[in-house]
């Protein structure tokens, strides 16, 4: 579709509030040769129970239905892997279902689990996601990921998803980046930032102290993108527990309000047609009246430079929650930084900056925990977990990990979870002597974007302290 009816643009509404009660992550690694997937899922579940002072058995008593996010059966060579995990979690005979929306699987799993609570079908749900990407060689893994593209029109072209994605990066680089060296360095800064934040995250497996020059010297994957511009390939699990108000407060003293909206666009980028830009609350038609003149070369919207699915997810979520301007109304974000350039594209899709201006979010220092230009707190810190570049991309878990990280921040418990020396030791790592507490002081509202591939699915999850709601 390229025009939308009023019914299609209806602002979503839950029939009753949904609360994020708890959540947990496993450790993430490139490979776990000595652990089965269920061990990772149980690890994440136990983390969630411990976070609210329960045992796993106690937490299970509250759960009514289960939603399992697992992108790729073929990676694990196990169809119906969701049933395996459900069985190993000992949650039979509860109803359960698998969710698959590519890279957005984690976010979509939360979307489904939240709707079950909101509708009244369940008072408490489990959203659990994982991925097993270490049991085939990397080139076979690339082929498997490419199988998420159109098998007749795209996959035979190199069997490499990066290529299908990177043509969009090239267009953005040409039109909005103007192929400027300064923009190339801005992209590298994102990589430096996110790998750097992951360095302080014991769950992460891509933490590194690197420089812009390191990024610019890393091997070319698909020009202008280099190896350090690309996300990790990971194994691990994450989960959240959602509940209606009364149940949530029985389980926790401080559950958070949760909203989740979703958008989509064509599976093949080729099928995108030109349309009007759907405007977010902080935009007007005037916002884009000079866009073509200022940035010639992209005569289409979203063309290959934007993600309509992300724009629509934000459109629904902002109008629903009452967010007018993400930079003013949110305290931190976790974005789907599959590539540095797609991170910039997302800043624009979700209104952190207008289309064409995404780079200024980085260049202003607003995206940092501490603005390197002013030494003051960043206006809207992004990906303090390290994101997909530095923390992990265990596909089915990624969108859930983001929300767990937001929860730690909004509860003010970031340091307790990330700074615990015993956790670092348990994961076979030494807590860095220069470890930094990345807690955002006074964080009350956060947003997570979970994004599939070239933009076929995107979810926008917003969590906040109940007394910080803007929709009443």
């Amino acid at each position: 579709m390229i025009t939308f009816s009023k019914r299609q643009l209806k602002i979503p509404k839950f029939s009753r509030d949904v609360y994020l009660v708890t959540g947990g992550n496993s450790e993430f690694r490139r490979a776990f040769p000595e652990k089965r997937t269920e061990e990772l899922c149980i690890e994440a579940f136990q983390e969630a129970a411990k976070y609210i002072g329960m045992t796993a058995a106690e937490l299970k008593q509250f759960i009514h239905t289960c939603y399992y996010g697992h992108f790729a059966d073929h990676f694990g060579d196990q169809l119906l892997g969701e049933a395996v995990i459900h069985d190993r979690l000992g949650l039979d005979p509860l109803g359960n279902v698998g969710i698959k929306t590519g890279g957005a699987t984690g976010g979509s799993t939360i979307w489904e689990a939240a709707k079950a609570v909101a509708s009244g079908y369940s008072d408490c749900t489990l959203a659990m996601g994982w991925e097993r990407m270490d049991e085939v060689p990397t080139d076979e893994g690339n082929n498997y990921i490419a199988c998420a593209a159109d098998k007749d029109w795209e996959t035979p072209l190199g069997h490499i998803y990066t290529g299908y994605y990177a043509v969009m990066a090239q267009k953005y680089w040409n039109v909005y980046g103007r192929e400027e060296e300064s923009f190339r360095r801005t992209l590298a800064e994102i990589s430096v930032k996110n790998h750097g934040y992951a360095y302080h995250n014991p769950f992460a497996h891509g933490g590194m102290k690197i420089t812009v020059e390191d990024v610019l010297k890393s091997p070319v994957v698909a020009y202008p993108l280099r190896a350090l511009d690309a996300c990790l390939m990971s194994v691990g699990a994450s989960c959240v527990i959602l509940a209606e108000k009364e149940t949530a407060y029985q389980m926790s003293r401080n559950p958070l309000l949760l909203y989740c909206a979703a958008g989509s666009h064509t599976l093949r980028v080729a099928d995108r047609r030109d349309m009007e830009i759907p405007l977010l609350p902080n935009e007007t038609p005037d916002t884009y009246k000079d866009l073509d003149r200022e940035f010639p070369g992209e005569e289409r919207y979203p063309g290959f430079t934007g993600f309509l699915a992300a724009r629509m997810a934000a459109y629904y979520a902002y109008h629903w929650t009452g967010i007018q301007d993400p930079c003013e109304d949110l305290d931190l974000v976790e974005l789907h930084d599959a590539f540095t350039i797609s991170d910039v594209q997302t800043y624009e899709d979700i209104g952190i900056r207008p289309y064409g201006r995404g780079r200024t979010y980085v260049e202003s220092g607003d995206c940092y925990h501490t603005n390197p230009k002013t030494g003051k707190p960043g206006k809207l810190p992004a990906n303090l977990s390290g994101g997909l570049l530095g923390c992990m991309h265990a596909v089915g878990a990624t969108g859930i990990m983001q929300v767990v990280e937001l929860m730690y921040q909004i509860h003010g418990r970031h340091a307790e979870i990330h700074g615990d020396p015993a956790r670092w030791k348990r994961y076979g790592k030494e807590k860095p002597k220069d470890w930094v507490d990345l807690q955002v002081r006074g964080a009350r509202r956060g947003l997570a974007i979970s994004h599939a591939g070239v933009g076929s699915h995107v979810t926008c999850t917003i969590v906040m302290q109940p007394d910080a709601r803007l929709d009443q």
Partner: protein, 200 residues
């Protein structure tokens, strides 16, 4: 892999030969000899229906490029839209599209909308690396086709292109269609490929 064939006879698949090949398992040990896992090797042949898109792939082998067009006058967004990739149904009204031949349009107007030179590939790739992806815009079409560039030139946004077709030993996949810079001479085309051919 060979030694198998698939035909359709009276509307049903008729399979013959070997489709599933099992090989012995191999254990995985760590450096101390502890068992960690197991390898499960085997080879599988999938067969897949091209369905209503089959005319597109068949036409490539004849040196022709087909698209489709919505001719439903009542369709609000899609009427007269030309779709390449070939869509069987209009994405707006879901009526069956009209098949049209856009070979001449492609010869005259194909341009690089965006591109990517990709140094890597996944398993089972058959294209020469680095792969030069080109997303090709045609005058008046609603969509932008993904394909790949052959020849020696580096792709550039706006570059004029011509489609070429694997008319000798076609694979009946999208790799039978590629593009070259518009000024390419017939004698410089890669083996097996030709410019468009006259309709039969």
């Amino acid at each position: 892999m060979s030694g198998y064939s698939v035909k359709v006879v009276e509307g049903k698949y008729k399979l013959s030969g070997e489709f599933s090949t099992i090989e012995p398992n191999q254990p995985i040990f760590d450096e101390k000899g502890k068992l960690c896992g197991i390898c499960n090797p085997r080879r599988i042949v999938h067969h897949h229906s091209l369905g209503g898109e089959a005319p597109f792939f068949a036409a490539l082998a004849r040196g022709r490029l087909l698209a489709t067009r919505c001719d439903n006058e009542k369709c609000k967004d899609g009427y007269r839209s030309v779709f390449i990739p070939y869509r069987i149904h209009c994405p707006d009204c879901l009526e069956r599209n009209t098949e049209i031949d856009i070979t001449d349009l492609a010869n005259r107007t194909a341009r690089v909308y965006t591109f990517m030179v990709c140094e890597r590939s996944g398993a089972f790739n058959t294209l020469e690396k680095p792969i030069r992806f080109v997303n090709v815009a045609f005058e008046g079409t609603a969509t932008i086709l993904m394909s790949y560039l052959l020849g020696k030139a580096s792709p550039k946004i706006g570059m004029r292109l011509r489609p070429i077709f694997r008319t000798r030993n076609p694979t009946y996949t999208i790799t039978d269609l590629a593009f070259v810079p518009a000024e390419t001479r017939p004698e410089d085309l890669p083996p097996g490929f030709t410019f468009s051919l006259e309709p039969a």
